[in-house]
């Protein structure tokens, strides 16, 4: 194997990327741009949920209650209505996502501990807002009830939380407010860094489509040299993003970075090696660029989305899928990114995943090399 020949291919690939500014910027920064877009799209902290209130009681207590519920940014009081029909219309039109109905005997029922005379209607087409609102209202309602009770049963002495005999003290490690954004973003990073794999698959298909592959085959450049030479520039592209993205994540989304950057860099290189190996396999088999694109989506991005445990926990998957997930570089890398960003662990914990990634990379490269013949037929 001649390093010089590998470097010749690497140089050529880089020249392709650099040929014009738009291609260069797109290819180089696609992962970062995608991450930013997806981070905004997928990880929004819910707030300003529009809600309508139908207060049948209209007592000072009920008005007080409504005020307490609406405090803060979580819910937005869209309207106070006086009939169910109005609620219906508003829900249909999507102008509100939640409606709160206070029973006519609200104040009385509250003080006589006959349960919670409150009904919440949520728009089921947006369960997230609904669940959020239910949580929020439920919690505030309990608070309110506690206040009422404690003022009533002063005998029990400052008993906040009468309604909850068991006091739950919750601490969420690494993400105290349990904001989805915080842990999603490392997961997203592991997804978007797989992007160069698409480019690798495309470049092989590109040479096939344009007939330059035939010419290449007639040169002394060997299979391994060609595959490696095509892979390396995209490892570099990936690594550039590995450097940029954590900064952006910290700056724009306030994601902590508790681990060591060097560890992150090394393990990311291992990941790139593995995922680009997958890209090479696709490039070896597909003859046209659209086909390479389509297969990349099916084999790299879809599973990357579903099966790597980023959005859907692996523990909840059936046995079969869990096993398949092991073969995906993204699964291991997601653990690594989470570890480095949030948990702050180092190589002592993460080394097995690094080894898995390198191993997968070697296997994929071997498969690509095996099936890549310097033959047209």
């Amino acid at each position: 194997m001649s390093i010089r020949r590998v470097l010749a291919v690497v140089r050529k690939e880089i020249q392709h990327i650099l040929r014009d500014r738009s291609t260069f910027v797109l290819v180089l920064l696609a992962p970062t741009a995608l991450m930013l877009l997806m981070a905004y799209a997928l990880t929004v902290d819910i707030q300003h949920v529009p809600i309508a209130v139908l207060d049948y009681d209209r007592s000072p207590t009920s008005r007080d209650f409504v005020q307490q519920i609406m405090a803060g940014d979580d819910l937005d009081l869209y309207a106070q209505v006086s009939s169910m029909e109005e609620i219906e219309t508003l829900l249909m039109r999507g102008e509100i996502k939640v409606a709160l109905i206070l029973a006519p005997d609200f104040a009385r029922d509250i003080s006589s501990l006959r349960g919670m005379p409150l009904q919440i209607i949520i728009d089921g087409t947006e369960p997230q807002s609904g669940a959020f609102a239910v949580d929020h209202v439920g919690w505030r309602a309990e608070e309110f009830l506690n206040q009422v009770l404690s003022s009533q049963m002063g005998a029990f002495g400052g008993s906040q939380g009468i309604l909850q005999p068991i006091d739950l003290r919750v601490r969420a490690w690494y993400n105290p407010s349990l904001k989805p954004r915080v842990d999603m973003i490392p997961g997203l990073i592991s997804m978007v860094l797989g992007f160069p794999a698409l480019s690798v698959a495309l470049t092989l298909a590109h040479e096939r489509e344009h007939g330059t592959l035939e010419q290449l085959m007639a040169t002394p450049i060997g299979r391994a040299e060609l595959l490696l030479g095509k892979m390396i520039p995209y490892v570099l592209v990936g690594l550039v993003n590995v450097i940029i993205i954590p900064f952006l994540a910290m700056l724009m989304f306030r994601i902590p970075f508790n681990g060591s950057f060097i560890v992150f860099f090394l393990l990311s290189a291992a990941f790139l090696f593995a995922i680009l190996g997958m890209g090479l396999i696709i490039g070896v088999f597909m003859k046209t660029q659209p086909a390479a694109l389509a297969l990349s989506f099916l084999l790299i991005f879809f599973p990357g989305f579903f099966m790597t445990g980023i959005f859907f926990p692996i523990a909840s998957m059936p046995e079969v899928m869990r096993l398949e997930a092991l073969a995906l570089p993204g699964t291991h890398y997601a653990i690594i990114t989470r570890g480095v960003f949030l948990t702050g662990v180092g190589l002592d914990v993460l080394w097995p995943y690094g080894v898995m990634l390198v191993g997968l990379g070697v296997i994929f490269l071997a498969i690509a090399g095996l099936f890549f013949r310097k033959r047209l037929g």
């Binding site: 001649s2 010089r4 020949r5 470097l7 010749a8 291919v9 140089r11 050529k12 020249q15 392709h16 040929r19 344009h210 007939g211 330059t212 035939e214 010419q215 290449l216 085959m217 007639a218 040169t219 002394p220 450049i221 060997g222 310097k374 033959r375 047209l376 037929g377």
Partner: protein, 314 residues
């Protein structure tokens, strides 16, 4: 050529794609230092043959030896010693002239000073000095071919395989390209070239005519002209050449005139027959009957095209 070992030997090469036989028992030898032409229409199997010779395609059966190396078993052994220009333009359009040359040079194992020297030489040969930093897609067809040739000889190969190197290039550039080829041959390179241009066939030392995967004639251009067909060529300049061809062909079909073939050459008609000289009057009469003036009639030296068409019609 005598007892020198042939540079290229193909024996009974066959390539089938499913039901279709693209190359049907092709055998020939190419001697050192000659330009061997593979002449045939599109789809006759030229590209398939050349690819098998290079080890890029596995034959269904048959054998190939290049520089005494069995290509089937050791395709990689010839890589550094032969040059190839594939049929579709296969340099990188988005790279510059220099980037392309440097890439292929390095691919062929050149480096540093040697690489620089050879690149300079290639640029000079192709006439592209001063245009090193032009992007390849900005070059016109003729220049691109010269660049591709330059890239193919960077490593000073002993054998050059060219697949339709001048397709789509203007006649002037084509002639200049062949000048370059002659220079290379003078330096000792053996050239195997495929083409469908008849006039290029004239430039080869030896030829093989291929049609539908089979070699239908071979030899030097002279041999082919003299022995390639039965009969001689009578050139006529009739007033209506298109109709004249129709009439004479009808006469041949009826058996009224013992003609081998009648071909249209622009405003001229070539009639091929054994002893055609004696048929001149009969032919003129036939044309007169349909009110066509036969114009000037003369027996001429057969061109390769005549030979080829005659062979093909057989």
């Amino acid at each position: 050529m005598t007892s020198e070992t042939a540079t290229i030997v193909t024996e009974n090469l066959i390539k089938r794609f499913g039901e279709f036989t693209a190359v049907d028992e092709v055998s020939f030898k190419v001697h050192p230092g000659e330009i061997f032409g593979f002449l045939g229409p599109n789809g006759s199997g030229k590209t398939t043959t050349i690819r098998m010779m290079l080890g890029l395609l596995t034959p269904t059966s048959g054998n190939v030896e290049v520089l005494s190396i069995p290509v089937l078993e050791q395709p990689e052994a010839i890589r550094g010693r032969v040059g190839y220009m594939s049929q579709s333009f296969s340099l990188y359009n988005d790279l510059t002239v220099l980037q392309n040359l440097r890439f292929y040079g390095t691919a062929y194992g050149l480096s540093n000073k040697g690489l620089k020297q050879r690149i300079d030489r290639a640029l000079q040969m192709a006439g592209l000095e001063g245009r090193e930093n032009v992007r390849t897609h900005e070059l016109s067809g003729g220049w691109r071919q010269r660049l591709a040739l330059g890239a193919a000889i960077l490593h000073e190969p002993e054998v050059l395989f060219l697949d339709e190197p001048t397709a789509g290039v203007d006649p002037l550039s084509r002639r200049e390209f062949w000048e370059l080829l002659y220079q290379l041959v003078a330096d000792g390179v053996t050239v195997f070239v495929t083409t469908h241009y008849m006039d290029e066939a004239e430039h080869c030392h030896r030829l093989a005519l291929i049609q539908r995967g089979k070699i239908i004639a071979s030899g030097s251009p002279n041999e082919m002209r003299n022995q390639g067909m039965h009969g001689q060529v009578l050139e006529i300049a009739p007033s209506d050449s298109a109709r004249a061809v129709k009439i004479l062909r009808a006469a041949k079909a009826d058996g009224r005139l013992p003609l081998e073939s009648v071909e249209l050459y622009g405003s001229l008609v070539h009639v091929i027959a054994d002893g055609v000289e004696s048929l001149q009057e009969a032919i003129a009469l036939e044309l007169k009957r349909s009110e066509i003036e036969s114009g000037r009639m003369a027996v001429i030296e057969p061109s390769l095209e005549d030979v080829f068409i005659a062979c093909m019609r057989d």
